[in-house]
């Protein structure tokens, strides 16, 4: 059975992962369009701030809350819609605010954290935060129980690890012993330089104060003071999110192009999924150059003679030259994909060829879906 069809039929969560620019968002959207058409109440979540998903679904814009794609739009694209399709775009900052509101003992304390400048900087700058919030949003949507299937793409991470380790990275940071060693004396002393702190910490604080200014240290102190007592909640939630991703409900789709760099990333990602006890559902190989005929071609000698011949011969030389160029790419892609096949069994693969049209609307997504579910 086609692996994409299989997981779409049985799973509640599909996570699309892969290197940047290989078509994660489009793949996620195409899977969601097909699942919705076939009767599932589906949500598609994108991390990509570009408006591409919105416009391909015929929507003006997306927000952190689900927007329904109307039946009319499906009908206009000639698609019968038996289920529902909702689309969201992750807003890291507001999702983080929701998390803080949930775990703060009082709303007042939550508001103090949300207004804190150090906190505001975290969601924009600490790498891994976006990934964590994506998983948080996924958990919340799943727990709400409103959807049969949630399809989500992942940020274009430089490194697959970023995404898998994100929740732990954030909680580790918030609990960091190094930071506490440096910052706690400052926190305890209420912002003044402390008498009992160690010498290195004092030297460090002086430098940090000179570099970033005292007000930033005050913000930090206030942030960590307000965060006290919330770690357990954070950690428990991070554990729940991890457990959900490792459960029977979730499956991962790895997307790659046949180019060497993205194949390496996909291979690595597939092995990391295994180590992390996450279910690998399917591998989508996108944008493979087409192969026609047996590519036997001409010898260089024949080519040279054709190129210096009459008009028909010169035409043939051009055509053979063109074919030979493609054959070089075909052989290279074959080599890359063979290496991939040693790590990921071919029966989990799905091919989406280089298409003549781009998926800029529901029609286009349906065409991609036809390949994904073929």
């Amino acid at each position: 059975m086609n692996p994409i069809a299989e997981i779409t039929g049985h799973k509640e969560i599909i996570v699309c992962a892969g290197a940047g620019g290989v078509g994660k968002t489009t793949t996620a959207a195409a899977i969601a369009v097909r699942a919705a058409a076939e009767g599932k109440k589906t949500a598609v979540v994108t991390i990509d701030p570009a408006r591409r998903l919105a416009s391909s679904l015929g929507l003006k814009e997306l927000s952190n809350e689900p927007t329904l794609v109307s039946k009319r739009k499906f009908a206009a694209a000639g698609l019968d819609l038996k289920g529902e399709l909702h689309a969201l775009m992750l807003d890291t900052k507001s999702t983080f605010d929701e998390v803080v509101l949930r775990y703060a003992p009082t709303e007042q304390q939550a508001r103090r954290i949300i207004a804190n400048r150090f906190y505001r900087n975290i969601s924009g700058t600490l790498s891994g935060t976006q990934e964590y919030m994506a998983m948080e949003k996924l958990y919340e949507l799943h727990a709400g129980g409103a959807y049969d299937l949630i399809v989500i793409d992942t940020p274009p991470t430089r490194n697959a690890l970023d995404f898998l380790d994100a929740p732990r990275r954030l909680t580790d940071f918030l609990e960091s012993r190094v930071l506490r060693w440096f910052l706690l004396p400052y926190v305890k002393a209420g912002g003044g330089f402390m008498r009992f702190a160690n010498v290195a910490a004092v030297a460090f604080l002086r430098v940090v104060k000179r570099i970033v200014g005292g007000s930033v240290l005050d913000d930090t102190a206030e942030f960590f003071a307000n965060l006290d007592g919330m770690y357990d909640g954070f950690k428990a939630r991070a554990r729940d999110v991890a457990a959900l991703l490792q459960s029977e409900a979730a499956s991962f789709v790895v997307i790659t192009s046949p180019a060497e760099e993205s194949v390496l990333e996909a291979t690595y990602f597939a092995s990391r999924l295994n180590e992390a006890h996450l279910a690998f559902g399917a591998l989508v190989v996108n944008r493979v150059h087409p192969r026609f005929g047996d590519g036997s071609g001409a010898t260089p000698r024949q080519q040279a003679r054709l190129a210096s011949g009459d008009e028909a011969a010169r035409r043939l030389a051009q055509l053979l030259d063109n074919e030979a160029s493609f054959m070089r790419i075909v052989r290279l892609e074959d080599k890359n994909l063979k290496a991939l096949a040693r790590k990921v069994p071919r029966h989990r693969w799905v091919h989406v060829p280089y298409l003549e049209r781009e998926a800029v609307d529901l029609d286009g997504l349906a065409v991609i879906a036809a390949h994904l579910f073929a």
Binding site: N121, Q302, L319
Partner: protein, 333 residues
């Protein structure tokens, strides 16, 4: 008239910042531009910022370090990791090597990143400033004629370049604030710095390139160089050859006869394959041409077309080819 006039124009300021979204081939363009500069007698340094360091691989050289090393004759490279720039700054300015193990721990680097967003970017740009001033932070002497910066991917690029401009929540106090002013002067001086953009002829990369180009010009006030478009399918097949493999049986017979003259036996299957490849190439070329038109409409700078490489990977010979293309098109600018 000097025939290399326009190549010199292309290479004019010393600092070239190469910008573009991830996966469009910024590093390849940086390397090709470096070769062009080296061919014209310049000593070049390519600066990779916080990346895996794929540049030396293109030149078949060893992995880069924080100090420049020669990758190929006339072309030097270095990889500036933000963590290294931060550690160097703290060591040189505050003699903090004593606790440097702690300072380079990931939690501390995370802390500084959050506490002072933009600081690491400023320090990386500071490293480039030192290169331009012909010295390193620890007093070593450099003499690069051309400095090419392989900028971080688009998402981070604007934040990276705007960090010293105080547009973001960046560092607002202390010595760093003053040092940032030198960086702004460097970036906004058209005689010192130019920014090139790299794109692919696809919908998203074109849209992002137009946005990047606008941001560079309107918000960052950095001089605009060229736009490089990577991966364009070349015109291998002429129109008459394309027509010959369509349904015209007379033309197909002509091809079969031409093949027979050089002992090449072609059956219908072979001709169909030739036709399919020709059709595929021409349909991809049409799609690319449409996106190129959109790019041309959206930006003011000259566009340099770089070909899709039908080769088994990208290494020095391919970079040489791209450098040829850049030189040739620079002459026509």
């Amino acid at each position: 008239m000097n025939p290399d006039m326009s190549v010199d124009e292309l290479l004019n300021p010393r600092i070239h910042i190469v910008c573009g979204k991830g996966g469009v081939g910024k590093t390849t363009v940086s390397a090709a531009l470096a070769l062009v500069a080296a061919r014209h007698g310049r000593k070049v340094c390519v600066v990779e910022v916080d990346r895996k360091g794929s540049l030396p691989k293109l030149f078949g050289a060893k992995s880069p370090s924080y100090e420049p090393s020669e990758l190929s004759p006339g072309v030097w490279g270095l990889n500036v990791l933000q963590e290294d720039a931060l550690a160097e700054y703290l060591n040189v300015q505050y003699h903090m090597q004593r606790i440097s193990r702690v300072l380079t721990s990931s939690h501390f680097v995370d802390y500084i990143t959050i506490a002072a967003p933009g600081l690491k970017d400023i320090l990386v740009l500071g490293k480039i400033w030192y290169l331009e001033q012909d010295r390193s932070a620890d007093g070593k002497h450099y003499d690069f004629d051309t400095i090419i910066v392989d900028a971080p991917a688009a998402g981070h690029m604007i934040a990276f370049l705007s960090a010293p401009m105080g547009l973001s929540d960046a560092v607002q106090v202390g010595p760093i604030r003053r040092q940032s002013d030198w960086l702004v002067e460097m970036l906004q001086d058209t005689a010192r710095t130019v920014a090139h953009v790299v794109a692919m002829a696809e919908e998203m990369p074109v849209a992002e390139t137009i946005a990047t180009s606008e941001a560079l010009h309107d918000r960052l006030h950095i001089a605009q160089g060229a736009a490089f478009v990577n991966g364009l399918y070349p015109k291998i097949v002429g129109a008459s050859a394309e027509r010959a493999v369509e349904d015209d049986s007379e033309a197909r017979d002509g091809l079969i006869r031409a093949g027979a003259l050089v002992n090449l036996t072609l059956d219908d299957g072979d001709l169909d394959a030739l036709a399919d490849y020709a059709r595929f190439l021409s349909s991809r070329r049409k799609i690319q041409a449409r996106h190129l038109r959109a790019l041309r409409k959206g930006i003011d700078q000259p566009i340099l077309n770089l070909p899709f490489l039908f080769s088994s990977g990208i290494a020095l010979p391919e970079i040489e080819m791209l450098a040829d293309d850049i030189e040739q098109q620079a002459l026509e600018l």
